[in-house]
């Protein structure tokens, strides 16, 4: 399955800001949405192997948005790729809407996990990647997006260690680094992963080709992390 050719392109990148602007209300995480926009776009445009008309295909790649706050960019990309209707964006956060300020996998097609509380996505992704492998599903890849501040949550340390010990080479973590971690990461974020045996790349989180290259890098035998650097507190 080739995502680039099979995903129906309803809107392009240039349409994303308009789609985001449809999601009005009192959501306070517009910066979070802005920081993730380019990575999520490249994932759905060029990387993920999934068919919007068959969102539960067991052979699909999985994308887990662990940093569930500020999901406007995520919803915009889902709409752009035809996984949800663009018309639904205007109801963002309303009682009758499926689109909450944190995504719910039971409400939104194509959303792999319900997120919002930080530090859950990567640990779930580790179990998911292992479970797929145990069942002989060696095709699907698991991508999980976290924030640099989210890495403060200790649960991520548990996941990072075990993912490497299990050699989960179908797992890729993406850290959106906008330097919002209160106490920072002395020595850099990538080193927190490589010390546990992950392969790691640090890239410009606004450069689509760099994002694609980072997410497509070979990492046989080990999980992989892409640290996508964007503007500080963007």
């Amino acid at each position: 399955m080739d995502a680039v050719t099979t995903v129906e392109r309803r809107s392009g990148y240039s349409e994303l800001l308009r789609l985001i602007s449809l999601q009005t209300g009192d959501e306070k995480h517009s910066t979070a949405a802005a920081s993730t926009l380019d990575v999520i776009w490249v994932l759905y445009d060029r990387v993920l192997r999934l068919d919007p008309s068959n969102a539960t295909d067991p052979e699909r790649d999985r994308f887990l948005l662990s940093k569930g706050h500020g999901p406007m960019a995520f919803y915009a990309v889902l709409a752009a790729r035809g996984l949800i209707e663009a018309e639904s964006l205007a109801g963002f956060g309303e009682f009758g809407s499926r689109l909450g300020h944190h995504p719910d996998r039971n409400l939104v097609p194509g959303v792999e996990i319900s997120s919002g509380s930080l530090g859950h996505g990567l640990p779930i992704a580790v179990g998911l990647a292992h479970g797929l492998r145990v069942q002989g599903r060696t095709g699907p890849r698991v991508f999980c997006l976290v924030g640099d501040a989210e890495l403060d949550e200790g649960s991520n340390a548990e996941a990072i260690a075990v993912a490497a010990r299990l050699g989960l080479d179908r797992l890729t973590a993406i850290v959106i680094d906008n330097r919002s971690s209160t106490l920072g990461w002395p020595g850099g974020i990538a080193g927190r992963f490589t010390v546990e045996g992950w392969s790691a790349l640090t890239i410009d989180g606004r450069d689509h080709d760099a994002i694609f290259a980072g997410l497509s890098a070979e990492h046989a035998g080990t999980p992989h992390v892409v640290v996508a650097v964007v503007e500080e507190r963007s």
């Binding site: 996990i113 859950h120 580790v126 479970g131 145990v134």
Partner: protein, 305 residues
């Protein structure tokens, strides 16, 4: 040597791994040696994540999302209390199934102190929607309830204890068993409390019901057997954990309720579980004293005695 519920859990789960390729076991350094053979036979389906209890539950959530049915096991405080948000979100909120199996119920770990005790576990899980909670009182019952849990798709908490009844009952998942019938009151004994309850109520004209599934609570058997609406609930964990279930079972019946269980106080003592049972009034003598005092004071739900 007497087989424990924990022994039977390991034996049954190891057998289930052979029978059902959907099952996987996730451990956090507890009972690892007991599952060593199963781990060799089913590499990848028995995973020890180390002393990482948050990951223990989240990992299980991921396994469930991949299509497996995880059986997640460690000591009760580290399975329920420490990763409670993971239980709530990575299983419940994701709407995926799992079987959580704890050991060390209430004060099994009396010599280890408060860190290894959790009489709050069933109350905590009971606050979450969609959970079945099983509290066996014997290894044979453990196997019945565990096999039922493994065959399902939803979320089940199986609470095991080192304290067990001398004889197994032919329990049915989800149902209370009628141990004996009487007219003066109904005593509901939960799991390992059956033996002390039977001893405590010897010679009393009371119905004794035996509960090994406490969520959902079996209201039907309670309603079908209720004579005098005086109800005594005897639980091996925090006192009153299922009190609200009695109220829900009897919304239009004027009734009295005595809840007996582990008081919500911290007992800063070590010793044996029997010492703690005695200190909490959960030995047969303590239970009988409370029941006798309650039955002879304050009238009945139908009027002054």
């Amino acid at each position: 040597m007497t087989e424990t519920m924990r022994d039977r859990f390991v034996r049954t789960t190891s057998a289930l791994l052979e029978e059902d390729p959907r099952l996987a076991v996730v451990l956090a350094d507890i009972s690892v040696s007991a599952f060593a053979d199963a781990s060799r036979r089913h590499p990848g389906r028995v995973v020890n994540v180390g002393i990482r209890e948050q990951l223990l539950v989240s990992f299980a959530g991921g396994l469930a999302l991949s299509g497996l049915r995880p059986i997640v096991h460690t000591y009760a405080p580290f399975l329920v209390e420490r990763p409670f948000e993971q239980v709530k979100l990575d299983l419940g909120h994701q709407e995926v199934g799992a079987v959580l199996v704890s050991v060390g119920g209430s004060y099994d770990g009396s010599r280890m102190g408060r860190t290894h005790q959790t009489p709050e576990d069933v109350a905590l899980i009971g606050t979450l929607p969609g959970w079945t909670i099983a509290v066996p009182g014997h290894p044979d019952e453990t196997e019945v309830l565990l096999r039922d849990a493994a065959a399902r798709d939803d979320r089940v908490y199986v609470r095991l204890s080192a304290i067990q009844n001398a004889l197994a009952r032919p329990v049915a998942p989800g149902r209370m068993r009628i141990e004996r019938r009487g007219a003066r009151a109904t005593v509901i004994a939960v799991g390992p409390m059956l033996d002390p309850v039977l001893e405590a109520t010897a010679g009393l004209d009371v119905t004794v019901l035996y509960a090994t599934t406490v969520r959902p609570f079996d209201r039907d058997v309670l309603l079908a057997t209720l004579a005098e609406p005086d109800i005594i609930l005897v639980e091996p964990y925090q006192e009153g954990t299922s009190s609200a279930e009695i109220g829900r079972a009897l919304p239009t019946v004027r009734h009295r309720l005595l809840s007996i269980g582990v008081p919500n106080v911290e007992l800063r003592r070590y010793g044996d579980p029997e010492d703690h049972a005695r200190a909490h009034g959960l030995d047969a003598g303590g239970i009988r004293a409370r029941i006798a005092a309650w039955l002879t004071s304050g009238g009945t739900a139908r009027g002054v005695a």
